[in-house]
């Protein structure tokens, strides 16, 4: 390292994953330890909050130690500490935020409280992509489906979001209804790819151009209705038809917004951004003068690196949070 790097610790516990990461200068990941609780939850077809917060509490110290060890540094090398404080499950969010406060207080280093949604959209900039603003950010996960114009760190303009269910939630619910398990995304993608019959078509979601909202309640109901009246149907064909419609609206909204606003840089992040079919659909719509960034699958899930990475910019511009900052279930 030429000059001394700025080293940050990022903590994340807003939902399934407990994670601690060490990031240098907001772009180099020195350690990114993620302990997923999906095994614990898969029996339950969803995240169970009490299990989640108890497991976060049991994990967090071990994971922080592991992150420091992997990065080859000690607590005293840290310049700042960051944690997700919104949005998410209150009991779960508290574990990372309170741990970060303890570290901030003990080491006398700044605390940065981070918006989890903004951090997801930062993930590609931890993988060699040069930070550039503005960009259109599409955030797709189990709890969120939203489109943003991102102007600078801390400056996001919401362009549209779901009016009912999140896209990942629809994958989970349809998957449970099909008897395919949790999480629904990967299993539906896999079964859809194996579909030999592709004639079934579900109605378009919010087909009006100019509308920037998303909706997943209608397609969920359409799939369930179809299964009720066609109990002998081919599950893989249903999965295929559902996935095509569920993803199509994301692609349409993303490009409509980018082209209307004249923005050429796109970021697609969150758990559903790991879906291979979604990536394929976006890449085939992309024009030569447009650029899209997807985080690698590891950075699509909840992780501490995106928290530490984004927090670097807050730290550099002196935007710290006080020890009495709180968690919020919504942004």
């Amino acid at each position: 390292m030429k000059e001394k790097s700025i080293i940050g610790l990022g903590l994340e516990s807003s939902c399934d994953e407990t994670s601690a990461a060490i990031v240098a200068d907001g772009k180099v990941i020195l350690a990114n330890i993620i302990n997923s609780q999906i095994d614990l939850h898969s029996d339950y077809s969803g995240v169970v909050p009490e299990i989640a917060s108890r497991a976060h509490l049991e994990n967090i110290n071990i994971i922080i130690e592991e992150a420091l060890k992997t990065a080859g540094i000690s607590f005293y090398d840290l310049d700042y500490v960051a944690a997700t404080n919104r949005p998410g499950l209150i009991g779960s969010l508290l574990i990372a935020l309170q741990s970060a406060k303890a570290i901030s207080f003990t080491l006398n280093i700044p605390l940065v409280a981070i918006n989890h949604l903004e951090a997801h959209l930062y993930a590609p900039f931890l993988e060699g992509n040069e930070l550039s603003f503005p960009f259109i950010g599409l955030l797709v996960s189990g709890g969120n489906t939203a489109l943003y114009k991102v102007i600078a760190p801390g400056q996001m303009q919401l362009l549209g979001k779901t009016v009912d269910d999140a896209v990942g939630e629809a994958f989970d619910k349809v998957s449970k209804y099909l008897g395919l398990g949790y999480p629904g995304g990967p299993v539906i993608e896999k079964i859809a790819a194996s579909a030999t019959e592709r004639k079934l078509i579900f109605p378009k979601i919010l087909p009006d151009p100019g509308d920037r909202r998303f909706s997943y309640s209608g397609i969920k109901t359409a799939v369930i209705n179809y299964l009720k009246s066609n109990p002998q149907c081919d599950i893989s064909e249903v999965a295929y038809a559902f996935q095509e419609r569920a993803l199509e609206i994301l692609v349409r909204r993303l490009f409509d917004a980018a082209r209307e606003l004249g923005i050429k840089t796109l970021v697609v992040a969150g758990g559903v951004a790991a879906n291979g079919r979604l990536r394929e659909m976006i890449l085939s719509e992309l024009r030569p003068d447009e650029r899209v960034m997807f985080p690698s699958p590891k950075l699509c899930t909840d992780n501490g690196a995106m928290i530490a990475g984004l927090a670097y910019h807050y730290f550099m511009s002196g935007k710290f949070d006080s020890l009495n900052c709180d968690v919020m279930s919504r942004v």
Binding site: Y44, E50, D165, T221, S229
Partner: protein, 141 residues
Amino acid sequence: MKEVFVTNNPEETLKIGKILGEKAREGDLIAIYGDLGTGKTTLSKGIALGLGISEDITSPTFSLMEIYKGQKTFYHFDLYRIESENELNNLFFEEYWEKDGVSVIEWPERASSRLPKNRIEVFIEYINDFQRRITIEYPYN
């Protein structure tokens, strides 16, 4: 008192919800039963409209609970992800159910022994792809 409606589309379900919301009194708790895709969130959206809430009501499946401020406060719960009542131990939802606002609970069967006795129960049943039977039972006459 018991009322039974048959709705022909989501708009009519929304309308039933709106009337429920307009009639709701501070401290009321409305438990909405029904399978996936029957229209529980649609009915909840209607209730919110009736309570004078202009914000978009989204499914609280992930967050479990959302709070909206209107003429009356609207506490919107979704217990879909709750598998056993013990999981509610650390969530203290009962405190909201005793409050001044109007609470709506989707998937209330996941907390059946904890629900206050004085509650409005709504059952949504699938008739066909479009129609739903909505039964509302009030704890009073």
